[in-house]
């Protein structure tokens, strides 16, 4: 099993979700996060006071998938979230040791 963590532009979330549903992903967790990469921040000015905003808002997705689905999921996210401009985000793929479905107590791939 793999845990796929993707940080994307917030306005791409709907498209990514649809792309993931199309490849068979049945659930995911989304968080609103802040961060910076090569995109850096921007400057805001209020009555002459300049503030540099270093951390930009991003959406973070966490998806647990069986090993054989991982490639398709990464591909779906990458193509749906891409604008071609700086700041499109990153996808991390991590090995996943175990999963528990709390309601039934199922474990492993059955619980994904």
């Amino acid at each position: 099993m793999k845990l796929i963590v993707a940080v994307i532009k917030p306005f791409k979330l709907e498209e990514v979700k649809d792309a993931l549903a199309a490849v068979g992903v049945e659930g995911l967790t989304v968080s609103e996060v802040k961060g910076f990469g090569r995109q850096k921040g921007h400057t805001e000015i209020y009555r002459g006071n300049e503030y540099t905003v270093d951390f930009l808002p991003k959406a973070k997705l966490e998806i647990a998938v069986p090993d054989e689905l991982a490639g398709a999921v990464v591909e779906a996210i990458a193509s749906a979230a891409r604008t071609g401009k700086i700041g499109d985000g990153k996808i991390f793929v991590l090995p996943l040791e175990d999963v528990v479905r709390i309601r039934t107590g199922e474990r492993g791939e059955a619980a994904v």
Partner: protein, 504 residues
């Protein structure tokens, strides 16, 4: 039959009147006999002139005066000593509009500009100031400003303490047609908003108790004397109405009393208090320009009560004030945002809001005295100089005037007062001809400068004394922990926004 009765009625009435007159003559001829005084009846001409005074906003008893300029005892008309419905209605609306400027106008304008952890704090200050000043005004404030018993150019009197004698009949010292109680409430709203404007400079770092204590002392020691000097019938600087005024300055709606007094006091208070924790290091951007914009709109609309209402009548002067107010506010808003666009490439919403308020401030002393074109000039000046005061001067001098009260109200009010002296025009406000015809258009601006000097000295001196005394006694600042936590929680035990998943 109908025709006959129409002819008969005047004949009968004149017969009756003739009989009354002959009785009167007989009464006078029998001078020795003590007679019950007969109530004198006004003539139809006198009654009409008295009623016409309502339209002209003049004295309804003027027509009753005899050749010696005295009103015969007992002679009155139904129009004398009563409120004029139109003037009274407008003044009640105006009073409500001026309160609307504070609650919620200023509360939102300021509330949007602070960080989210202090939004309720400034709103609580506006509410607290409204409560405290209202009680103060009832007890002594109104009388100290608009009373006469002290016979002083510097302070009013004690005859209206606890609003004694302030009823529905007009007080002819200030208005022939507006109820005394309506006038007192209209003026109360000015006494509320002035300290509420000041505290914008010290948001996020002053204790609630200290804000209220400062308000009480400041209204008593700075506002009341200054308002009496400028607007009291026998005030020191009331050039418009007091022929004995030593400084013949004019201030239509509060350029001295409200704007300069609050702006300069704010500068002193924020310097005594010191900057916010982390000022210049931690970002402190506004948490909601949406609230700020809503507040700006409410201030602008409320300002019609403030400025046009300061005519204390629903007359042509009020109409001129309404027009000048609109023009100056719109021009100044565009000027401020235009300067931003020119200097930085973007016109900001906060720039439009700041410019509108600065223009409204600058036109305040002038609106009932100047024409539309002069209002454009006042708007240009009101949008330009406060812009540089807020964006440049504050940065150079490094004082933490958090919401730019000095930059907008202090600088804007100062320019407005001076330009009032330059642009005031007898053709716009005929009252200028009563005592000031020699100086209007010539040396009035010098009188304005003298008045500004007195207001500045009183505001700076009074605020410095009050702030130092409070700092040495109850203390001005919250604890460092409270300031970091935010005053909403530490002073009021509430949060402005509760965004909690379990609470939705």
């Amino acid at each position: 039959m109908r025709i006959t009765s129409a002819y008969l009625r005047p004949i009968l009435i004149s017969l009756f009147l003739g009989l009354l007159c002959s009785l009167g003559v007989r009464g006078e001829s029998a001078a020795a006999a003590p007679v019950v005084p007969v109530a004198l009846a006004p003539t139809v001409e006198q009654r009409l002139a008295s009623l016409e005074a309502y339209l002209a906003n003049t004295d309804p008893t003027a027509a009753l005066k005899n050749a010696r300029g005295e009103i015969p005892p007992g002679l009155t008309t139904p129009s004398a000593g009563v409120a004029g419905p139109g003037h009274n209605a407008w003044m009640m609306v105006s009073a409500a509009l001026v309160l609307f400027m504070t609650l919620p106008g200023l509360a939102l304008f300021y509330g949007g500009l602070v960080r989210a952890k202090n939004v309720l704090s400034i709103m609580g200050w506006c509410l607290g100031i409204t409560s405290v000043v209202t009680v103060l005004w009832w007890a002594v404030g109104y009388s100290l400003v608009f009373g006469k018993s002290f016979d002083s150019a510097y302070l009013g009197g004690s005859e209206h303490f606890f609003l004694k004698g302030v009823g529905g009949a007009p007080n002819p010292n200030y208005s022939f047609w507006v109820s005394h109680n309506v006038f007192a409430m209209f003026q109360l709203m000015f006494a509320i908003i002035t300290p509420a404007v000041i505290v914008g400079a010290v948001v996020e770092r002053m204790k609630f108790s200290a804000v209220l204590a400062f308000t009480v002392l400041w209204v008593l020691l700075v506002y009341c004397p200054l308002a009496h000097m400028v607007w009291g019938a026998n005030g020191l600087m009331n050039g418009l109405a007091n022929p004995a005024a030593s400084i013949k300055a004019i201030d239509f709606a509060g350029g001295l009393v409200v704007e300069m007094a609050s702006g300069w006091s704010a500068l002193v208070l924020c310097i005594v208090l010191g900057p916010r924790l982390g000022f210049g290091k931690t970002p402190m951007p506004p948490h909601s320009l949406v609230l700020c914009m809503v507040g700006t709109g409410l201030l602008w609309v409320g300002w019609y009560g403030f400025n046009a209402g300061s005519a204390v009548a629903a007359d042509g002067i009020a109409g001129n004030a309404f027009m000048a107010t609109t023009i100056a506010a719109a021009v100044a808003a565009g000027t401020w945002a235009g300067l931003e666009y020119y200097l930085r490439g973007k016109a900001s919403v906060l720039g439009f809001c700041s410019g509108a308020v600065a223009g409204l401030v600058a036109i305040t002393p002038a609106c009932g005295f100047i024409d539309a074109t002069a209002a454009v000039w006042v708007g240009l000046a009101g949008g330009t100089l406060p812009f540089f005061a807020c964006t440049k001067l504050k940065g150079w001098l490094r004082y933490d005037d958090a919401l730019d009260v000095f930059g907008v109200h202090g600088v804007g009010g100062t320019i407005g007062m001076l330009l009032t002296g330059v642009f005031a025009d007898v053709a716009i406000n005929g009252n200028l001809a009563t005592h000031l015809s020699a100086s209007v258009g010539r040396t009035l601006w010098i009188e304005q400068l003298k008045g500004m000097g007195v207001a500045l000295a009183l505001a700076v001196g009074g605020t410095l004394a009050i702030a130092l005394v409070l700092r040495a006694t109850i203390g001005l600042r919250p604890t460092i922990e409270a300031e970091q936590e935010g005053l909403d929680l530490t002073d009021h035990g509430e949060h402005g926004y509760i965004y909690d998943a379990s609470n939705i």
